[in-house]
Every structure is written in C-alpha cells, then in structure tokens.
C-alpha cells in the first residue's frame, strides 16, 4: 500500500517560501496568481495492507516525525 502525506504550514503561519514564489510568478507575468503556500509531499511505500491500520500508522509517523505540529498540519492519502 502507498501513502502520500502532505505537510503544509498551518493557516496564519508565515510562509516565506510561498510568498517568494508568488512574488516571482507575478514578476514572470503570471498576474492571475494570488496567494501561494508551499509545503512538502512525502510518498511512502508501506508493507501494511489494511487501510485502517495503515492510516493509523502514517498518522503516528506524522505526529512523531513527518510534520512539525507546532507550525505544520498534515493530510494523508492512501492508495492500494
């Protein structure tokens, strides 16, 4: 089973990277771009085949390591 984890900054937390990307895109003539937020995506291969257990497991990984929950939030997507 595969898991994709999105780790993004919590709302309200300054995202200097997103800000700079937005600025650069505007500068390149992509005027229609408004706010930009940047984050991480982490793709994991899991030996686990049970979806519920896999989710549980990935959640624990996020809390423990993948996300810095002080400033980041995470979403989990599972694929068989």
């Amino acid at each position: 089973m595969k898991a994709r984890v999105f780790v993004t900054l919590k709302n309200g937390v300054l995202d200097p990277q997103g800000k700079a990307i937005g600025h650069a895109l505007n500068g390149l003539g992509f005027g229609s771009v408004g706010e930009v937020r940047a984050g991480k995506v982490i793709d994991l291969e899991l030996a686990e085949t049970d979806e519920a257990k896999a989710r549980e497991n990935v959640k624990a990984m996020c809390e423990k390591l993948l996300a810095n929950t002080v400033i980041e939030k995470y979403e989990i997507e599972l694929k068989a």
Binding site: L9, G12, V13, L14, D15, P16, K40, V70
Partner: protein, 735 residues
C-alpha cells in the same frame, strides 16, 4: 470590548498589585488593548523589573564607550572613525518549543538590534546550553537549533564565527540559545531610538504583520510547565531573505539624513518599539493601525499591537522625506507605510477603524513600570577540596576528557555555519577568540562568549568574575585588547530568594571583574524564569566580549607551529580541582569551591601575554580553562598536528591537580627556545609566575614518568563524540 476580570489580568502575567497600579496611572480601568500593552511593557522581558536595581551596579563607562546600555545595542570607538556595535540576546523559550525557528528568529532579532543602529553586522556568535545528551529531547534540540542558527545567519551572509556549548541536566527542560551580533559603523553615523520632536511621520517598514508570537514577551517571563507546550502558536517563523533585504534597505536609507530615530520591532513588536521611541524622545506617538501592512484578515488592534512578526522596523523620519524613503524600500520590494505621527503629548494613542483603542501616558509604560527589590539569599558558597583517586593515569583521563560532551570538538556545529563569508574572518572557530578583520584595514575585532555555569552555581560571585575574566583572557590570548562586553543573564525564577541570590551574586561578580579589567558592559539582556517544573537551570550569565587588535598580522592562535618550541605556562598553577571538569567527568562529582579569580594577577598576566603577541614575538598562545593545563596543551597539539613532550610532574600525588586543576589567569605559550628563555626572564622580572614545562615536537604527547599518547588517539576522542552522538538518530533538516 471585554470587561477586565481578575482571570484576564492573571493571564496577562500581571499581579493584582500591578493591575491596581495600572488603574491608578490611567485613572480608570484599562481596556483590553491597553491591558495587553501594559502586560508586555511591564513584563520581566521588557521592564527588567527584577534585575534593574542590580544592573545599575555594572560599570558601563570608559573613554572608548560611545553608547552604553539603554539603546538597541552598545557602541564602542575602535579608532579611525570606526565604531563596533554589539549585543547578545536570548531566544530560550521559543527555541525549546520549536528549535529551528526559535533559534533562527533569535539570530534575526539580534541582527536587527545591531543594524537598526546603523551598523553592518560582521560576525555572529552563539552561546548554547542543552540538557544531558541522554535526555530524549537533546539531540533533536541540538540539531534544530544549530540548523536554525545556520539557516538564518548563512542566508544573511554574515559569518557565524564562534560560540560555546554545554550539556547539563539542569537544562533538560529549558535550553539556552543566546546569540550575539557584532556590527561595524562609522562613529559619526550611529542611529538612536529617540523619537524627538512633534509632527514627524512614523513609518513602518519590512514584512507584513501577522498573528505571530502574540504574547511571546509575556511567555518569556513566565515559568515553563508541561502544559505550556500547548501555548504553541507563539512560534514565529523567520524569513532571512526579507531580513537581508531589510538590512540593505535600512543601510541605504541611513546613508541619507532622513531618519530621526529608528528601532527594530522585537519582543512586543509595535508596542514596545513605539513606546520606547516616544519615551526616549520625550514625545508622544499616535498610531493608526488601519495603515499597518497586514498579512491576515480581520486582525484586531490587540493582535496588531502585540504581534511579534519578524523582520519589521519602525522609524521616525524628518517631515517631507517619506517619498525618498519609500522609494528605497520599494526598490528592495519591502512594505513601507506611514502609520503615525509624533506628538507633544507624551501619550501613546492608538487608533483603529476610526476609534481610539488605547490612550495612555508613555511614562506609565516605562518609568512607572514596577521595579522590584526582590528578597535574596546568598547561599554559602560551596567550598572545600574534594577527594580524588591519585592512582588514575593522567594520559587515560586526558583521552577520556577530550571525548566528553563538554570538551569534545564543536566542529560538527561550526561546519554548519558559514564562517568565512565576507572574507574577513582571520581566526576561524576553534581558537580562543574569533578574529574578524575590519574591512579594508589591518585592524581586527576579537570576539568570544564565555561563562562556566558550574562555577556560578557553586559561588555566584566568583563565577560572575570568572566569566568576565575568561572572556577577557580569550581575547587577550589572540593578541587583542579587550574593550567591552555584552551579557546575557540567564537564570531561574527571581521570585525565589536563592535564585535571586544567584542573580545578585553573579551581577556583583561581573561588576567587580569588569571594573578591575577596565572592561565595561555596554549592552545586555536578562532571561529569567528559566525553570521547568520548579527546577532552575544552572546560573548562566553568558559574557560576550569584544577586543581590538591593531594589526591582524600579529595575531596568536592555539596551534603549535614549529617543532622544538619551548612550552611555557604563564600564571600560577596551584591545582584547584573544585568544580573542575576532571572531577565531574572522571570522579563523577560536582563538588568543591569554584576557582577563585585574582583580578590583579589576571590583568598582570594578560597584559604581559598580549604585549608579547602585539610585539610580534609570540604567535602561539592558548588560555587555560575547562580541563586545565594538559587539556590546553593537547588542544594546541591537535590544532597544530605537532605533539609535545612535557617534562614535569609525572605520576606523583600532585600530578592530577597540576594537570587538570582549573586555576585562573593562566596561559600556555610556545616559542623558539632562545626567545622562550628571554620571556621566562622577563616574566620573572615582572613578578609573574612562569614555568617552562616542555617542548613541541613529534606526533604524540609525552608526559615524563606518565607515558605517551598519540595525537591520533587524542584527535579521535576529541573529534568523534559529537558527530557520533548526533548521528544516533537522523532527523531530516527542516526545509
């Protein structure tokens, strides 16, 4: 607006009495915005209410001091119209909660303190204290703090040239992250924060305001408990890219004469910057929050006034110069807004959405802030000469010591810092003091940070003296003249008399040493309430020292440079083992008295050594500190890749205190034999203790009657501990 309940007052960290005082000063109940403003301005962090009475004891003047404590940073004259500007500041609590961002924003904050005065920052230092290595958080904290410091400083292009690191269980729940910044300016172009005059525009520059770090200042003044990790939204995120632009833009504006006053927005952001500028200028300030560049929608006045968003500055301009200033900030793609005006009312007036949301006399926030003469108790200093096992082999103990957490090489840390950018670092990390050349001259600034918390715990007064003496000695050891210090006083809860006793004792010790060594304090910072669940940290008054070297070509380093140099010890070795690293690491005892510091001897020995270097006679010097004489020699040998033969002592009952004692006021120097004999004579003539104890050469350290240990063995012990410890668990660097 909310009614102010006792609960709300308490949440703002204000006592009932303090609240009563606020009502008196206002002649009415404050509203929530005003309460918030009072709470940050009267916090320990901003008001120094527990320490102010004692800080007055510190000497702050010397003919070369251009600006002492009270401004964003202190300023000294370094000749030829140049000035050095520096300060140290803590970011302890934020770094414990989020090590990367906490440390990074600490670095950013202290840089702003320095460049807001018109200086270009040229060097950074960091004094770090972590819990014991076996504590489950330590590795993660070291990793995050170091990459945070590097992440910010490296991006700014300002070399991080040194620091200090200790590990001790008292910091398990409360690490210390103190960062120091040194900058250069022209002595006749220093910018202060006094917003003099009425009718002048108040401008906001830098990043937009968000809800970052609201209540950071009050948090830094409150004791930690397990629940406070929940107060997490206080974490600010640093943006070194914006800060770099802000630095360049500010320096560009400072090259014009448009500025009346300028101040960075640090703790308590808009509130403290506006109140302090008004206070110093004897003026009033009126702010219109609708004009403040905002990152988020629907921010309240309370949030805007208390936000600690980073990379922002407040300036007061001469009227009519706004457009010129705006053009500069626009060029650097930074926000710029006129958000207020100075007045002659001496009041801070804040408007939001057409209404006045705060209106208070500025003196109520500054002069009228409480000052406490907190009760203190001087614990009897720990004394006595601890016992040790005289049969332990010196060489074995040496190898072991070099690989202990407090003695191991810090290379793993400093290699994550760009210490050569700006092409002026003439002494890199690894020496006694870093030396940074004053650009386009032959002058150099020597910089160090020092304190031995274990001495301060055993004897606050001697420990305070020792911290200053060691900083002075480290600067001397590279050949510079120590000129002034900044301090970062990290202590536990001042409401406990025994902690207050440590504070008072250390400050008095610092004051005495600074006076005796003509080494005034020109800036500093206090960080109190460093406790976890009621346990205070070791008292840690970090001293950042700066000295001046007339010619960087006449500089000493610790490395042995030649085979066959004679090795001399300057200063008396009495064998003081109390509170030594040896005792702690080899005997497992944190016992005995702190080594006494004889300031007269310190000065005499140091002046002698400095002159040898400045005259171009000696190029190899190391002061003796943690670990004692033999550790110092081993460090010189490892650095120079040249061994030494030590011809004294050997296995006698006195060998251990002789080699590992931590007596103060000592240096090891190495010089060609003939010259060494002359130096030996000159020292004796000057009434200075001196001993010729061996010579350099070979690839091992040989101690008469004791044995031999190869440099490769020493180096392995010294270099391997930290990288091995850190690789115990890989933590992906934050992005």
């Amino acid at each position: 607006m909310a009614v102010i309940t006792p609960q709300i007052v308490k949440e703002h960290g204000l006592s009932e009495e303090e609240y009563g005082r606020i009502k008196q000063l206002l002649n009415r109940e404050p509203n929530l915005v005003e309460l918030g403003i009072f709470s940050v301005m009267w916090s320990e962090h901003c008001s120094y209410k527990s320490t102010r009475a004692h800080l007055r004891k510190l000497p702050t003047k010397a003919p070369w001091v251009l600006q002492g404590p009270g401004e964003n940073a202190g300023v000294i004259d370094i000749g030829d119209g140049d000035a050095a500007i520096f300060k140290m500041e803590s970011h302890n609590h934020p770094s414990f909660i989020e090590p990367y961002q906490g440390a990074a924003t600490g670095v950013g904050g202290i840089m702003r303190d320095v460049f807001t005065m018109g200086a270009r920052p040229i060097a950074m230092m960091n004094a770090l204290r972590f819990g014991e290595p076996s504590h489950h958080k330590t590795r993660h904290l070291v990793s995050g703090v170091v990459s945070g410091i590097g992440g910010y400083g490296n991006c700014m292009g300002i070399p991080t040239v040194g620091g200090e690191v200790n590990f001790h269980k008292s910091y398990n729940g409360n690490i210390l992250v103190n960062a120091m910044c040194v900058g250069l300016a022209k002595a006749n172009n220093i910018f202060l924060s006094a917003a003099k005059g009425a009718g002048n525009p108040v401008v906001y520059v830098g990043s937009k305001t968000g809800r970052d770090g609201i209540h950071g200042a009050t948090m830094a003044s409150a004791e930690f408990d397990d629940a406070s990790e929940e107060k997490r939204p206080t974490v600010q995120v640093g943006d070194p890219f914006t800060e770099k632009l802000l630095l360049e833009a500010c320096l560009e504006l400072m090259a014009t004469d448009a500025i009346i006053a300028i101040q960075d927005m640090g703790a308590a952001g808009l509130t403290s910057s506006s109140a302090e500028m008004g206070d110093k200028g004897g003026s009033g300030i009126e702010l219109d929050l609708d004009k403040v560049p905002q990152r988020e929608a629907n921010m309240t006045a309370y949030e805007m006034m208390l936000s600690e968003s980073q990379e922002r500055m407040l300036a007061v301009l001469k009227p009519g110069r706004e457009a010129e200033a705006e053009a500069i900030f626009k060029k650097w793609e930074l926000d710029f807004a006129v958000i207020g005006i100075t007045t002659d009312t001496k009041r801070l007036v804040v408007k939001h959405k057409g209404a006045v949301v705060a209106d208070m006399p500025i003196t109520a926030l500054s002069d009228e802030a409480p000052i406490y003469e907190r009760p203190f108790e001087h614990r009897a200093p720990v004394a006595g000469t601890p016992k040790f096992d005289p049969s332990k082999k010196v060489t074995d103990s040496l190898v072991k010591l070099l690989g202990t957490p407090d003695m191991a090489s810090r290379r793993w840390i400093w290699e994550q810092y760009d210490y050569t950018v700006m092409a002026d670092t003439v002494q890199c990390p690894g020496g006694d003091a870093a030396v940074v050349r004053v650009h386009d001259t032959n002058k150099g600034l020597a910089i160090t940070t020092d304190v031995s918390p274990r001495y301060c715990r055993a004897n606050p007064f001697e420990g305070g003296k020792q911290a200053v003496a060691e900083a002075w000695r480290n600067i001397t050891a590279v050949g510079a003249k120590p000129l002034a210090v900044t301090d970062n006083l990290n202590f536990g809860n001042p409401q406990k008399p025994e902690i207050m006793g440590e504070i008072v004792g250390c400050i008095e010790g610092i004051a005495e040493a600074c006076r005796a060594l003509d080494f005034p304090v020109i800036s500093g910072n206090c960080s109190l309430y460093n406790e976890t669940n009621g346990e205070g940290i070791l008292p840690t008054p970090a001293i950042g020292g700066v000295g001046l070297m007339a010619d960087v070509h006449r500089m000493a380093t610790v490395a042995f440079k030649r085979e066959g140099d004679a090795i001399l010890v300057i200063g008396e070795t009495r064998g003081h083992l109390g509170q030594s690293i040896y005792l702690r690491e080899i005997e497992g005892k944190e016992e005995g008295g702190a080594p006494p510091v004889n300031l007269a001897e310190e000065k005499k020995n140091g002046d002698f050594v400095r002159k040898l270097i400045a005259d171009g006679r000696v190029d190899t010097v190391h002061d003796i500190s943690d670990g004692g004489l033999i550790v110092a020699i081993a460090e010189m040998a490892m650095a120079g890749k040249i061994g030494a033969e030590i011809g004294v002592a050997g296995t006698t009952p006195d060998a251990i205190p002789f080699f590992f004692g931590e007596d103060q006021a000592r240096y090891v120097i190495a010089a060609p034999a003939e010259l060494a004999i002359r130096i030996d004579d000159e020292a004796k003539d000057a009434g200075i203790f001196v001993a010729m104890i061996g010579k350099s050469g070979g690839d091992s350290l040989i101690i008469a009657r004791e044995g031999e240990v190869r440099l490769s063995v020493l180096r392995k012990a010294h270099e391997e501990w930290l990288p091995a410890y850190m690789s115990g668990e890989e933590v992906p660097a934050s992005n």
